[in-house]
């Protein structure tokens, strides 16, 4: 993987993990910085131009590293949390809210994994089966060859059977998982959209076929896997597109063995949407009519209802309703 430059916070510069990471990308210029915000949050940045050649920032995350998951986000009624070891994603999905959330397209990798683990343990204390979602502000696996993030956390979660981790991803970097014994409490959740959406809006994302191949190998080896069909973006031919997608997916995977399957509609906070629309004034996705209400941008109510109902009905041809949840 190539980066335009690597910025390293002075505080982590001499840690073993950062040294290892720098060895993996030894042909890239390294600049020492004090805090990642100097580069990541500076003024006069254009996310779209930066996305052409992003830099990597290695930093230490301070404060609350583990946060309660938004209501309705996950699959379990038990307490759930999310954590972000990274900001931004190596993929370039046009619908992604991260484009409106951050000024910079550079990747920030927080390398103090041990602090994340400590806070996960603390958050899970006294709870029966808490769930921890990884991949909310990034892709959990896509930078694995550089970060070894999952490698660390699989080791850690293997000793914490009461805690569950969802590894949310669109990546096919599953070699590290395939080299291990499966863990019942680590679920690989892969996101999919129909072929037309992938072609139009998911730059750099592996093909559906490649992702299914990775998932199929994980499933055959005994890893719990889950499917996340999101974001659902309305089109006049969505029913046909999802019928084809589900036929392809469930031809490759054993539906009865899936941990869970969810659907989630395309929506985002109004401020993010407005910033992304300014960034991409030529993008039809943001030129459409939307419903703006209570600080959120949603697809039109009749579109949402029609799509949610019909895609759900198609999905239930393959899976048991008990495996399903709707992601709010």
């Amino acid at each position: 993987m190539k980066f335009s430059c690597i910025y390293v916070e002075r505080e982590v510069r001499d840690t073993p993990r950062v040294k290892e990471i720098l060895q993996r990308v030894s042909d890239t210029a390294v600049v020492t910085i004090e805090r990642y915000g100097e580069v990541f949050n500076r003024r006069a940045q254009n996310f779209r131009l930066q996305k052409k050649n992003p830099a990597l920032i290695l930093a230490k995350k301070h404060g609350n590293l583990v946060l309660p998951a938004p209501p309705g986000y996950g699959f379990d009624a038990d307490a759930s949390f999310y954590f972000s070891h990274m900001y931004n994603c190596v993929y370039d999905c046009r619908y992604c809210f991260l484009q409106g959330m951050y000024r910079s397209a550079n990747y920030v990798l927080f390398t103090n994994y041990e602090d994340f683990a400590d806070q996960i343990a603390a958050a899970g204390q006294g709870l029966l089966h808490p769930v921890f979602y990884s991949g909310y502000d990034c892709d959990s696996l896509a930078l694995e060859p550089v970060s070894s993030f999952i490698d660390f956390f699989l080791d850690w979660f293997s000793a914490q059977p009461r805690l569950t981790m969802e590894i949310r991803t669109k990546s096919t970097q599953v070699r590290g998982l395939l080299q291990r014994q499966p863990l019942d409490n680590c679920i690989v959740a892969m996101s999919f959209t129909p072929q037309t959406t992938w072609q139009r809006w998911e730059r750099k994302v592996p093909t559906i076929e490649k992702r299914l191949d990775a998932l199929s190998r994980l499933q055959q080896q005994g890893w719990p896997i889950a499917l996340r069909f999101e974001p659902l973006i309305y089109s006049q031919t969505f029913r046909q597109e999802y019928a084809e997608l589900f036929a392809t997916v469930f031809d490759r995977l054993e539906a009865a063995d899936l941990h869970s399957v969810s659907l989630g509609l395309f929506r985002m906070p109004k401020k993010f949407f407005s910033d992304i629309a300014t960034l991409y004034p030529d993008e039809p996705l943001f030129a459409r009519r939307y419903n703006h209400r209570d600080g959120q941008v949603n697809q039109l109510p009749e579109q949402e209802l029609e799509m949610q109902n019909q895609v759900q009905e198609l999905l239930f041809r393959y899976i048991d309703k008990r495996q399903y949840y709707h992601c709010a």
């Binding site: 335009s4 430059c5 910025y7 210029a29 600049v31 910085i33 100097e38 580069v39 500076r42 003024r43 006069a44 940045q45 254009n46 779209r48 131009l49 930066q50 052409k52 050649n53 830099a55 309305y234 089109s235 006049q236 991409y280 004034p281 030529d282 993008e283 039809p284 943001f286 030129a287 459409r288 009519r289 039109l300």
Partner: protein, 294 residues
Amino acid sequence: MDASPLSTLSSLPEVPGVAPEPVTGRVNLVVALGCEARPLIRHFALRQQRVVGGLRVYGNNRGLSLLVSGVGKSAVAAACGYLAGLQQQQSAEQAAWLNVGIAGHGRRAVGDGVCINRVTDFASGRISYPPVLVDPGAPQSQLVTVDDPETVYADDAAYDMEGSVYLSTVTRFVTSELCQLFKVVSDSPDTPSHSVTESVAAGLIESRLEAIDHLVTRLNELAADYNAIYRRPEEVSRLLERFRLTVSQQLQLDSLCRRYRALTGSRLDRQLDLNTIGSGRELIRRIEGMLPLL
């Protein structure tokens, strides 16, 4: 440039009585000295377009401008501010900027070309990080901008007298991705700056023309991409000539025209019968009704 006994304009030919021309470059080269400008003028086939005070602006018909700013922070601030203001008056297009010059360096050899990824203003301690989006095929380096000629070269960094203020001035006008710096090492602990003559400086820039040319080409593409995305649609200007709109309505019109183009691939004004629209408010309402759902 690093401070050395070089003068700003002495090596440039005088062109008396030059009539001002529009300066609408898509890449602006900024150099401190005439001797740094000379090889660039020749290579890019530039000709003098304006002389204002101590400033000279050169250009060619391929969208390249070159500004000879003079040495030091205040000179480069004034020069870049002047050119940016001038260009904004003449065109809504954004230019990319490239500061080229000779510099001292604490570690690198004389003649090395470096792309700058961190700029420290020595006097204020202020640090900036120009994004290095364009790979010139040259190594990257930090830069320290000093007020007086550097003689110690303490850090593994380049030393100049303009870079920090060039960056802070230009990024008031353009996004930081369109603002880069490229330095050619002219002096070092082993080769002090007083040995750098005008012909040496010109030779050093000349020796790195390939990298500079590559940077200019890529920055030109980047600026072209940027302008293609963000320039105001023609139809907005046409409609504004015909209808009197408030500032808020103008913004609405701009947004609606872009959305219509994005959704349909065509210009909105061609679908409107303008003779049937009596006011700006009606124009906005009519256009809103024309936007397709998807």
